[in-house]
Subunit: 195 residues, 2 copies
DNA sequence: AGATTAATAGAACAAGTGTTCACTTTTTTG
DNA sequence: CAAAAAAGTGAACACTTGTTCTATTAATCT
């Protein structure tokens, strides 16, 4: 038997990505089998290979689209104003963007070691590009005297680690709203780079 | 054939932990087989079961001793002085302790999802205890007026994420020494909690 | 030296792995 | 309505998985 009812081609493709992302985030790439993904989609394992050449491509595809989404979406944000204003925009954007994509973020951070070397390089380059956006803001702020930062590269890494950390504990059902969390983190970030 | 030369009981035990830690950190718990660990130790897979009841216990044991090591070592540090002095001590301790145990730290953060529920609770409790140490300092600093912090719990999480992030990029062969990095991070932390 | 115990080898087990493939069914195209 | 293409099934492939077990060897104890 094959194809029990109706055409699913435009449903199955996205659903595979969606279910794979959820499963990879929850159990880890290595711990998830193609059969588990297939079952979540509602299909047999062999059918997955109509949409992906192999398991590795599934992981890489998810990570690549996430990172591209990140840099592309940041690029749509206004890049005007003082360094202080731009830093505030970056901090708030980073928190809300990452909050809205918990699974993808988790995978992008945890599964780097499961990428082949070439795939790893590609993802790393995208990540670097995003970090450079923040460093650019810090450099401008140092030049204008708005920020007092000893090392812009390291400060960028520190701020990103701090902001990304929100994902590890924030829950929408908790005592604080995301807007409140954004305000608290912006306050810390602003003070940390103060002149 | 068995036991090709000499007695190894007091060598094999620790070596299993050491090799398992290195392999788990590099490839992830799920991606490492008992045979790989055995090979790294120089023994057959069956021999591992003289030292651990199963693979899960191996992971849990590593994570538990790391977390206990963390809280116990922090407890040996002087807890005297102002909140500002204690925060400085915490920041520097956190960076150097975590730097010296990269593999264990990596595992403790990445492999939580591979723990059984009971094991997860145990590790979480240890982690909470350590976070509470930092929050205690922040609370004292707020009470004395030394710190201006909106939410001590969240600030503790933010600082820990920032400090732990050093492990993701710092290399001893890089352009900065660990002491320089500690100074930069302390400067950011100090300013972030400033009144 | 002989007996006991600790440590290990090596084979075996059933279950699960990613991937391929011949075949069937549905949808789309001409 | 027939022919081609797309989508999916289900079995099969060769390996690997964690774990157990028996047999064997080395170290320790009496």
């Amino acid at each position: 038997m094959a194809r029990t009812s109706g055409s699913h081609s435009e449903i199955t493709g996205p659903k595979i990505l969606q279910e794979a992302q959820a499963l990879f985030a929850r159990h880890g790439y290595a711990a998830v089998s193609m059969r588990q993904i297939a079952q979540a989609v509602g299909v047999q394992a062999g059918a997955l290979y109509n949409y992906t050449p192999d398991k590795q491509s599934l992981l890489f595809g998810l990570m690549q689209s996430h990172m591209q989404d990140l840099t592309a979406t940041w690029a749509t944000q206004p890049q005007t104003g003082s360094a202080m204003e731009r830093l505030k925009r970056f901090a708030e954007f980073h928190i809300s963007f990452h909050h809205a994509r918990r699974d993808a973020v988790f995978i992008a951070y945890m599964e780097l070691r499961n990428l082949t070397p070439e795939n790893f390089s590609t993802i790393e380059a995208l990540r670097r590009r995003y970090e450079d956006e923040l460093e650019r803001i810090l450099k401008d702020g140092v030049a204008s005297g708005a920020f007092g930062v000893a090392d812009t590269k390291i400060t960028a890494m520190a701020l990103i680690a701090m902001l990304t950390g929100v994902n590890t504990w924030f829950r929408e059902t908790g005592r604080l709203s995301l807007a409140e969390v954004q305000a608290i983190y912006w306050d810390m970030a602003r003070k940390a780079v103060a002149a």
